[in-house]
């Protein structure tokens, strides 16, 4: 067993013993990644925040069933993705209008953070604005994708998980993941082109 695995096994043992401080460490360690995935999947900050808390409550409940067959992070992602899919279905039933709020959020973040674009990266301000606009459009288009395609795209292309990890999180065979990812990228590209065209007009 690798030293890293041993450390994780010790940590999981503390979690299984319901050590509150271990759970604090766990939440602090994973909250950002879990929240980021949920926000991209759900498209709403309030929903993502509530769901992130729920993910860790589920981890608390089920940690004694974690056998260490996969990495702890992968297991947590799986819980997050499954909860998220259920929530998406529920919100769809309620016909919740996530789009407006997400649009406002994306607009706000694009203007406040610049999300990686700095004056050093982009030679001209108009190019920077163009980059931010593309980023915003991409975020909107991700939310519009079907959840099955959205999840593989987020896990693979945004979170940089390996194919093995994506398969473990989604419970899908590798072939299905690859084909869904291919289709998701195609759909995203089309949607972005369509939206950019609309904005240009």
């Amino acid at each position: 067993m690798e030293p890293e695995d041993k450390e994780e096994a010790r940590f999981v043992a503390r979690l299984a013993a319901r050590d509150e401080r271990a759970f604090n460490e766990l939440v602090v360690l994973y909250q950002e990644r879990v929240f980021r995935i949920l926000l991209r999947m759900l498209g709403r900050r309030d929903e993502a925040e509530d769901m992130a808390q729920e993910v860790f409550v589920q981890v608390f409940k089920a940690v004694s069933t974690f056998r260490g067959d996969s990495k702890l992070s992968t297991w947590i992602y799986r819980i997050a993705v499954n909860l998220c899919k259920n929530r998406v279905k529920y919100l769809k039933r309620r016909k919740s209008d996530a789009q407006d709020e997400y649009e406002a959020l994306a607009e706000h973040s694009a203007l406040t953070s610049g999300s990686g674009f700095t004056s050093g990266d982009v030679a001209r301000p108009d190019q920077m604005v163009e980059g931010m606009q593309l980023e915003r459009v991409v975020q909107l288009c991700i939310v519009e994708l079907e959840p099955d395609f959205r999840e593989v795209l987020i896990l693979r292309d945004v979170e940089d998980l390996s194919y093995d990890e994506v398969c473990e999180v989604t419970g899908l065979p590798e072939g299905t993941v690859k084909s869904r990812l291919h289709r998701a990228r195609g759909m995203l590209k089309q949607a972005v082109q369509r939206k950019m065209g609309e904005r240009a007009r």
Partner: protein
């Protein structure tokens, strides 16, 4: 189609825009998690509500403790002089007289 070809078709701009973070700072999930768990476990977990939180209000507890110490100190300083000197108690035993029994008539 291979992964590389797939990504090439998607375009570098689109790929980098995909990774661009949409959110501002992430929320404090810990406080909400502790609150939910405390409520659902009926107070079994995270029972005290502050010692396990990420930012326990240490200053409040520290100031309260120091204030209590100051109050106790001033009460002692006020009451100690009133107690005065202790009264001396004479408790040395009297000398024992041995009375011999009267002879029988």
């Amino acid at each position: 189609m291979s992964e590389a070809e797939d990504k090439e078709e998607l375009g570098a701009d689109l790929l980098s825009a995909l990774k661009g973070a949409p959110e501002q700072e992430s929320p404090d999930v810990l406080a909400g998690f502790q609150r939910k768990l405390r409520a659902r476990s009926g107070g079994k977990f995270y029972a005290d509500g502050w010692s396990t939180s990420r930012h326990p209000p240490i200053n409040t507890y520290l100031i309260t403790s120091l204030l209590m110490l100051a109050v106790l100190g001033s009460v002692y300083a006020l009451l100690a002089p009133l107690s005065g000197e202790p009264v001396k108690i004479e408790n040395t035993p009297q000398p024992v007289q041995v009375i011999s029994p009267k002879p029988a008539p």
